[in-house]
Point group: C2
Chain length 298, copies 2
């Protein structure tokens, strides 16, 4: 109906069925019939047509004048939207765990923003896994294995974890020899790393510790947790990357030599759709390149 109206407008604009047919790249026969259908639907004749002339009726003119600007706006709107959506511009909404985004990918956001000045990045950080669809997000970063096979996903890299404590703390407390020794220590818990999963470096043996008893501090800010560890307040299980600087200059050490935290896969996840909008596509590519650049060690 609206499409037929658009055809009618095109016919009037071009002055004949054949001209409109050429412009629209469809047979004139179709135009005739759809015009007839439209006239029937509207209950009035729109064009007086004979083999040689094509003259709008009074009704035809009225419909033409009233509908043409609106139809033109609509077509322009869809065309410009189409162009916009196929250009890396607009808002990209990303869901990510707080620490992952705030520490591991901090530089990735910065370079992304610098590279795509027309994209507005909206980071919605939360340690809880939120629903991509209800949040209206374009992309999510997830740590750990994914369960939804319908969603698009790519492995970005691996997030390494480690136990840390300050030399000061270690000097004041019993030496750790095995993971179970942790139960005698003061522990700091940084969400969302509530399960401490360790792996023996040579044997590959794995252990999972649920530090539920003697936790001195539980905080959902990784930076603060690390500062507390540096301050000698206890042993912390945290992303390797977050503690890198402190480990490098010996403000923190691994309290359990021979053991390290396991590595968790970091995935990018997006809603099921065949083709990703350009603005999301370029972010994904950027994140992939960034992860590869840091040797997938996050």
């Amino acid at each position: 109906m609206l499409d037929d109206l658009a055809l009618f407008v095109c016919i009037v604009e071009n002055g004949s069925l054949n001209a409109a047919a050429a412009k629209l790249d469809m047979p004139a026969a179709t135009l005739t019939r759809r015009l007839q259908k439209l006239e029937q639907a509207l209950g009035c004749r729109l064009l007086h047509r004979s083999a040689r002339r094509l003259i709008p009726t009074g009704e035809g003119w009225q419909y033409f004048e009233r509908c043409r600007p609106l139809l033109a706006s609509l077509q322009q709107a869809t065309a410009s939207l189409d162009a916009e959506l196929n250009r890396p511009a607009g808002t990209v909404r990303v869901l990510a765990p707080i620490t992952l985004a705030g520490i591991m990918y901090r530089d990735a956001w910065a370079s992304f923003l610098a590279r795509y000045p027309e994209i507005q990045l909206e980071l919605r950080l939360a340690n809880e896994r939120e629903d991509l669809l209800t949040q209206g997000a374009d992309l999510a970063l997830r740590v750990g294995e994914l369960d939804d096979p319908l969603f698009g996903q790519r492995l970005l890299g691996w997030g390494h974890t480690t136990l840390v404590a300050s030399p000061d703390y270690l000097a004041r407390h019993p030496v750790l020899r095995a993971p179970n020794d942790l139960s005698g220590h003061t522990l700091l818990m940084a969400e969302p790393l509530t399960s401490w999963r360790l792996q023996h470096e040579s044997s590959g043996e794995r252990m999972t510790i649920q530090p539920d008893g003697p936790v001195r501090l539980r905080v959902n800010d990784m930076q603060l947790a690390i500062e507390m560890a540096v301050a000698g307040q206890g042993i912390l299980y945290c992303p390797l990357r977050a503690a890198e600087a402190a480990l490098a200059d010996d403000r923190l050490r691994n309290p359990l030599p021979g053991w390290r935290g396991i590595s968790l896969p970091v995935y990018a996840l997006w809603p099921p759709q065949r083709t990703l909008p350009a603005r999301v596509r370029v972010l994904l590519d950027h994140l992939l390149a960034y992860s590869a650049g840091s040797e997938r060690l996050i």
Copy 2:
């Protein structure tokens, strides 16, 4: 495409395919498929849909926001136009011979205008038969038989004609006994009555005279021609109705007793279309009623 977009907007407005299907009175299956087709055409997903949820994507929201107001305007425009065109309002353009409209139907226009205050009447008067379509006219009045069977037509009545001359003129000139006697007289010709067609009242015998020789005055204004006849300038062939008043008070007489001008059919003619717009319909009805009221004697 635009129709599909309208469907999409309706789906978003109603929150689900089934709700939209109910409102639009079409099966949900159709909605699904046309939505899929639209998404394919636009090259992006518009709605995240699962069995229980229906959430517009970023693209979906953009299309929705941009297109909804335009689509609403369009639908409203067509709806209001539809209502308007089915109401006796707007402009009616009428083609008619000058004398017919100016003298015979003068009162009809007046009463029509009084009765339909919302109609603008546009009378395009010309003695030449002009093309309804190219003139963009809704209705034409035509005197004499019509030849185009495709156009809509109705007989409005009969236009009687007559010969007239002033008593003064008749006293100064030889008495007429038969039509051929006209050739000895001074003749006044009022366009478009260039063929003088006479009929014997009792025998029905018909004669056509082409007064090409001795025409004193040829004018395309009937009123002026009559005034010249009243002034005794010659014999005039004119519509009976135009001379009625002068005949009644003996300023004019029939110069050829026993003969009268023939009667010509007066038709209303309109472009081929099944249903006439309301504003034209009421004018036609009005003219028919007017003609019947004057006993079809014009």
